[in-house]
Symmetry: C2
Subunit: 206 residues, 2 copies
Amino acid sequence: MDKRGILIVVSGFSGSGKGTLMKKLLEDYDNYALSISATTRSPRPGEEEGREYFFKTTEEFEKMIAKDELIEYARYVNNYYGTPRAYVEKQLVDGKDVVLEIEIQGALKVKEKFPDTMLLFVTPPTAAELKNRLVGRGTETMDVIEERMNRAKEEAEGMEEYDYLIINDDLEDCVREMHSIIQGEHRRSFRSQAFIEQMKQELKGE
Amino acid sequence: MDKRGILIVVSGFSGSGKGTLMKKLLEDYDNYALSISATTRSPRPGEEEGREYFFKTTEEFEKMIAKDELIEYARYVNNYYGTPRAYVEKQLVDGKDVVLEIEIQGALKVKEKFPDTMLLFVTPPTAAELKNRLVGRGTETMDVIEERMNRAKEEAEGMEEYDYLIINDDLEDCVREMHSIIQGEHRRSFRSQAFIEQMKQELKGE
């Protein structure tokens, strides 16, 4: 089959567990690469260039924007965050499926620019469970929880724009299911043009 | 998640092993039902009404056509063959994934009428392997093999119209993969409208 990897954008409610899920996906299976973002914010203690982020000056970052070297980018507060195209492209060519965690507006922009992108939305099984998880963390004030729930309401409006819904009930099951969905996606005909062409050529020669 | 089953149309080259594959899929997993065709041809020894076919008179069959009671139908030589809608619909409502084996023209007609249908195309890994399998059966004359290979050339032109390509190299692997692809397809957002609506409602109530 065609060996090129798939660009996979993962989004989900805060509290959906998508971070843990992606971490485990990369631990359990070896055909994935995590996309590394570029940012203009300063490195925090323990962060390494090219591991957590590619650290850039604002000037460097704006040059990348101008040269269309970013798949998508956004500005939060006073810093830029974006996805460098070169790194992702290299991984895809090497046959790795590249996982990119971004929020919904960014996800839809990526899909528009690269229609072959696979959009996954991670959700707990119910809204009550989402709230439980946010409360259960014990690290957030009720104000923050309310804010996250409000944000979830907005995000839910975009759920149907995603290709797949991943229901994160049990972590182990969910990782297996996510991997299986991605494997299945590799068998979609539009990802196998090279195989189809070869089969047609071979049949003509028989 | 939404409990309605998926209508799955399976096609493939003669010699692709799709018959064996589907038989094993139904043996190994219990969420599938095989669609049963209606036909005007006479029952052969051992065939039972409602097991191999629903046997109909030409008059009855033409009445079914007129009442739009068939998902698709075709006429071969002097007999009609078709897929009764009522049986398929009952299985789908019961949450079964219904597998229907038809050739490409029928498959595309079904997809047009029911866009939620999942189209699977089964193929050996190479054209040489396809020929090997036809020759290896030892039951066909070289004329028949040539005719099948010519038909395969025509059928290959439609491969990209299918949603998924299933490469049948090893039967066991292939059955597992086919099942896994179908399971993944259940997670596609457009099949989960009820879940999405419920999540939105719940979040509004929080």
